[in-house]
Symmetry: D2
Subunit: 400 residues, 4 copies
Amino acid sequence: MDFSHEPHVVDLAERVRTFVDDHVLPAEPILDEQLAATPEEWSFRPIVTELRARARAAGLWNLFLPGAQGAGLTNLQYAPLAEITGWSPRLGPVAFNCAAPDTGNMELLSDFGTPEQKSQWLEPLLEAQMRSAFCMTEPDSPSSDASQISTRIRREGSELVINGRKWWSTGAMNPEAKLLIVMGKTDPEAARHQQQSMVIVPRETPGVRIVRPLTVFGYDDRDHGGHAEIVFDEVRVPAGNLIGGEGAGFAIAQARLGPGRIHHCMRTLGMAERALALAGSRARERSPFGRPLAEQPVIREWIAESRIELESLRLLVLKTAWLMDTVGNRQAMTEIQSIKIAVPRAAQRILDRVIQLFGGAGLSGDHPVAEMFAGARALRLADGPDEVHLSSLGKAELRP
Amino acid sequence: MDFSHEPHVVDLAERVRTFVDDHVLPAEPILDEQLAATPEEWSFRPIVTELRARARAAGLWNLFLPGAQGAGLTNLQYAPLAEITGWSPRLGPVAFNCAAPDTGNMELLSDFGTPEQKSQWLEPLLEAQMRSAFCMTEPDSPSSDASQISTRIRREGSELVINGRKWWSTGAMNPEAKLLIVMGKTDPEAARHQQQSMVIVPRETPGVRIVRPLTVFGYDDRDHGGHAEIVFDEVRVPAGNLIGGEGAGFAIAQARLGPGRIHHCMRTLGMAERALALAGSRARERSPFGRPLAEQPVIREWIAESRIELESLRLLVLKTAWLMDTVGNRQAMTEIQSIKIAVPRAAQRILDRVIQLFGGAGLSGDHPVAEMFAGARALRLADGPDEVHLSSLGKAELRP
Amino acid sequence: MDFSHEPHVVDLAERVRTFVDDHVLPAEPILDEQLAATPEEWSFRPIVTELRARARAAGLWNLFLPGAQGAGLTNLQYAPLAEITGWSPRLGPVAFNCAAPDTGNMELLSDFGTPEQKSQWLEPLLEAQMRSAFCMTEPDSPSSDASQISTRIRREGSELVINGRKWWSTGAMNPEAKLLIVMGKTDPEAARHQQQSMVIVPRETPGVRIVRPLTVFGYDDRDHGGHAEIVFDEVRVPAGNLIGGEGAGFAIAQARLGPGRIHHCMRTLGMAERALALAGSRARERSPFGRPLAEQPVIREWIAESRIELESLRLLVLKTAWLMDTVGNRQAMTEIQSIKIAVPRAAQRILDRVIQLFGGAGLSGDHPVAEMFAGARALRLADGPDEVHLSSLGKAELRP
Amino acid sequence: MDFSHEPHVVDLAERVRTFVDDHVLPAEPILDEQLAATPEEWSFRPIVTELRARARAAGLWNLFLPGAQGAGLTNLQYAPLAEITGWSPRLGPVAFNCAAPDTGNMELLSDFGTPEQKSQWLEPLLEAQMRSAFCMTEPDSPSSDASQISTRIRREGSELVINGRKWWSTGAMNPEAKLLIVMGKTDPEAARHQQQSMVIVPRETPGVRIVRPLTVFGYDDRDHGGHAEIVFDEVRVPAGNLIGGEGAGFAIAQARLGPGRIHHCMRTLGMAERALALAGSRARERSPFGRPLAEQPVIREWIAESRIELESLRLLVLKTAWLMDTVGNRQAMTEIQSIKIAVPRAAQRILDRVIQLFGGAGLSGDHPVAEMFAGARALRLADGPDEVHLSSLGKAELRP
């Protein structure tokens, strides 16, 4: 047992840290200005493109992707890097081309795509020439229960015809999100987990209608393409757009979720660390009733509790990554569920404390903590609510 | 001891309930439309004016104000009415001319204003011919510690000259908010609680600069005038604009806070009740994995916990109101602090559960629960953070 | 709505308070000595008998029992008295002949007993000439589910023959507990809630075997007769010992539980108040690191949180009592369940904090707080675990 | 980074696991019988001696002690073994001669003792020929503040004379605890952390008076020698009994605490694992309302929450051990404090859930969970309350 990262990972983390400190954090106010200047747009602002160019030039690119097309890192090696990108949720991941949902979509295409699909969609994504969205959740069915998906995909000759309504398609308000990966039922009569298929739908296909943006609390997350409600009305694509064959949708979704969840957790740890760092600065600066917050016992307890939660959960995330690398995602399911439940929840608690420490300023846009809170809160619902995972974990644990 | 409301209060509550059901709740989507149609404006939308006319015609007006100018109700009698208005945080209180911060400002003028001040400012407020804002909190000093207020009010002949920067001036983005009540130091050398004074500043006075709106978790609360940052730069008003005399500012602020806090708590209970009612409907409609949420034990526990918290805290609010009515606000301080701490916190917990029950929809603007969450969270900071009150309460309790 | 107790209740509470201060609290060390002197015995120690004589002489007797045979108080009137008796869990209730399980048994006999049963058993209990136990819970079936009771009562001619095993029969180790009220099934084929009957079994009946005492966190509660496991092996009693007729057992148990639960809650509030008072004294006396605990912010928060919880739950208990008095126990079910869940849990939290404040001393027998903790913890299981009540409460709340 | 234990540690853990399963767990009912048979005694019961002989024969002896005299294991290597011994808190650690406070005393003598002290006291302890106690905490001063220790050690010629009162001297009721290590002040005028010294006091020295046993909740922990209050009244020992020189007491205590705390945490994890295993069995066996507890969602959530807490905290314990091994106890202080706070607290929460799952049986002596709860609760006070550590941790974290 050894708790130290390999030297080359330490080195890489150091480079990511330096890049974030030197380029990403200073870019945050620039992003705010660019957003204020073009309040109606949903596409990436220029600073994003700039950061990406710099990161790529620095050799910090596609870090999330194992294998030759990516940076070739294991989950365990990627973990400390992803955490650092989480310090700036709006700019960090995207700078390194490591932002959801593109990461999940790239993994999916890399693992299950045909050579044609890879060349047409994966390559431009790896080059950051476009963005993508993942269309799974529906307004009229519980997102945790894939068997209730109501979107239908029927085959007509060499075409697939898609009808349905999706929402929470993150990034899809962005016109650069040229690729939509859509899950629907091809055979509602098949076995429960073989009814679903996944299909590539170019955003510009006739019948695709971007209905409206959704908000998370009051945020529209416009900087990274928002969250769209989309109607698919008799949308026709070639049958070759199927990913992994008919009926493979559920299995592909599951495969996509493991890495997706742990990446979310890694970044969330970083976000919480940033919040703690901001809290520390604030606590040293403000002195209500003549004593710095940093010397007030109640504040010290908050910070100590936060530190303990973060340290123990970081270790659980790292162990989960190690298990995924060594015994596989399936064998790591209990741990993946554990972190999916525990990390966003801890982050929410920590951010709630940090907001309280900041006072009114913490609720506003002057500091990133309110928006971080919204992000952590949303993660407790993304990919199914905590309760579905708790129940499944408890069930497994209670097996004789 | 008797836990039933007087018959005429029951009757009045019934009338308020009917009005809310028939007029206020159906007005919510209309407000949304009107907001969408004029995204840049900060003034009241037409539906607000309409609702107010109807409420006034129905004899449901200025319910919060004791005495002849208002509805003549005690705190205890007002409590169930205020709670019902809280079901629609954006429209309920304002419909009955019972919305903060106008209520606090009207009380303040009613209790401490000169006859001239009353005729010039109180009367139009009671008639809903204008709005008002309260300018106390400052970006550069902890809001809980009045001794650190940095706004200065100096006397020059028959004038007062004000310099300072305020924020979280709720309602002040609304151009109809013609009255600003500003707290500043007239004598920084006086005894700790006699340094502050309160002064009437017409919004249009030269030197008053509305700097920008603030957001609460992404919401700009534009429907009721938002939250402004305001700079006062050599702002001159007649000395007669002082309220209650020089050095009376701290005492007036304290007097204003008691009723203000309990009114917030009453409305917050109503908001939480609405959330529970919405949760109930949702729980009966959605059936992930084939079983209505309403039959799932974990959901039942959430609802039961929420019910217990609400019932016990409502009683504490009512008892506090009764104490304010019978022994006075000062003697009810422990109870006022208790509800100020406990009610918003419970509402936050309840809303967090309700959001979780709604899934992604609960984060969006499709249901009012995310915005309600933001409101409850903000209350934990308004008028000083929980911790200041907890500490004061604990100190009193630990006295021999 | 009126939050003040009637003058004669205030007066009575004052008398109970004085009696507790003057007689009961000073008797606690005497009880400890008497227990230490006769470590093997399970009967009441002399101090108990003495206190009872004094309380009776003071006219403070059978306060719990409404009607002519008792003190004639309503639940609401009894509440503040019961709370005060809870300050000394081992001696307060018993001093006034208001201790469980005798109170529940007396109510049961008073409500459902025949004249013969009343004269033989109720009267000596009201005179404190004997004690009693209630034998319902069984080791081999979940206590929350009466349909699983395995004790059988069969009729043979004019006799009832009882076979079964009970435990947690509080008080039954005390040889003075001459009366056992036993619940068993007379007709396992009847409708779910008509299978059970309740029968009077004199402790000395052949076939009754007191197997052993049980402990609660190491406490044997020997001062008030402990908690017994009892085997009933072909125990024969006259058919006239049936209470309320065959098949009435479940209904009687339900009737017994309402008042039983609220009485527990009332006393538990008093216990928690005593703990807070002890915590206050301790906090003023001890000064680790040179500053009295009473001035330490974290301690102040604990005390403030405890105060808020106690105040709000006391009001809920009082309102529940008022509902029981005005609309009946059945209509007050939601509230009875609420306090049954919330009060012991809050008391456990408060006692946990108080123990922590006391340090090691708080775990020991030198202060009553560890034993109080055990008592509060046990109440979360008595009469069915919290979860059963939460589920039932949530179910009711979620009805359309 | 590598989360797997070394092969020889895995092997050793397997052997300890087998020994615990085959010898220790089956010995628990035997211990109960032996305790019941000799209720007045405080010395080890025969089964303890037997188990020790078997463990020693199996080569599983003094596992905690690094270096040649012990098993030569690092903290990280010892961790999984210690955890397994925690499955049986009363018999596991003692079987392998790894029970507190002997372990701490052996470490202390090993690190700071003179050759004479080692040969006279360390060797028989390593051979399990005697027991020992550690006398630090005092009834009249806060245990967390060594500067308030009131025990005095004065030098008279070649002798030291000790006066003071200690309590919570674990094991000291056992007459086999021939060695007492006593902390007192030799120079109250010295610098704050140089006033204290540590001295060896044979239990039979005149002036040593074992006053009484203390209880933890209702447990006297008689099986391992209880917890004693001890008066030292003009107790004289040779000056050679000083450990580590005059004024070294505080530093030695600190050195003793690091390993002591992590060992407690390791064992506590094991205790919680055992509780979860017992909960699992119970949950599969009991079916209130016709459905096994193991299938009830609320129970599943409890178990899932417990699993997540245990997994993440185990990793934090292991990382702490690794830090102690690689960078030293001083550099691992934040982590040692973190686990000292978090592990007992989590264990208390888990045990509270498990008790609730067991129902009344969980409070009794029929299952080990109530006693485990008491043990976990006590750990939150041992070596200073959580709050002292939280404050110190928060302070460190808030440093710029």
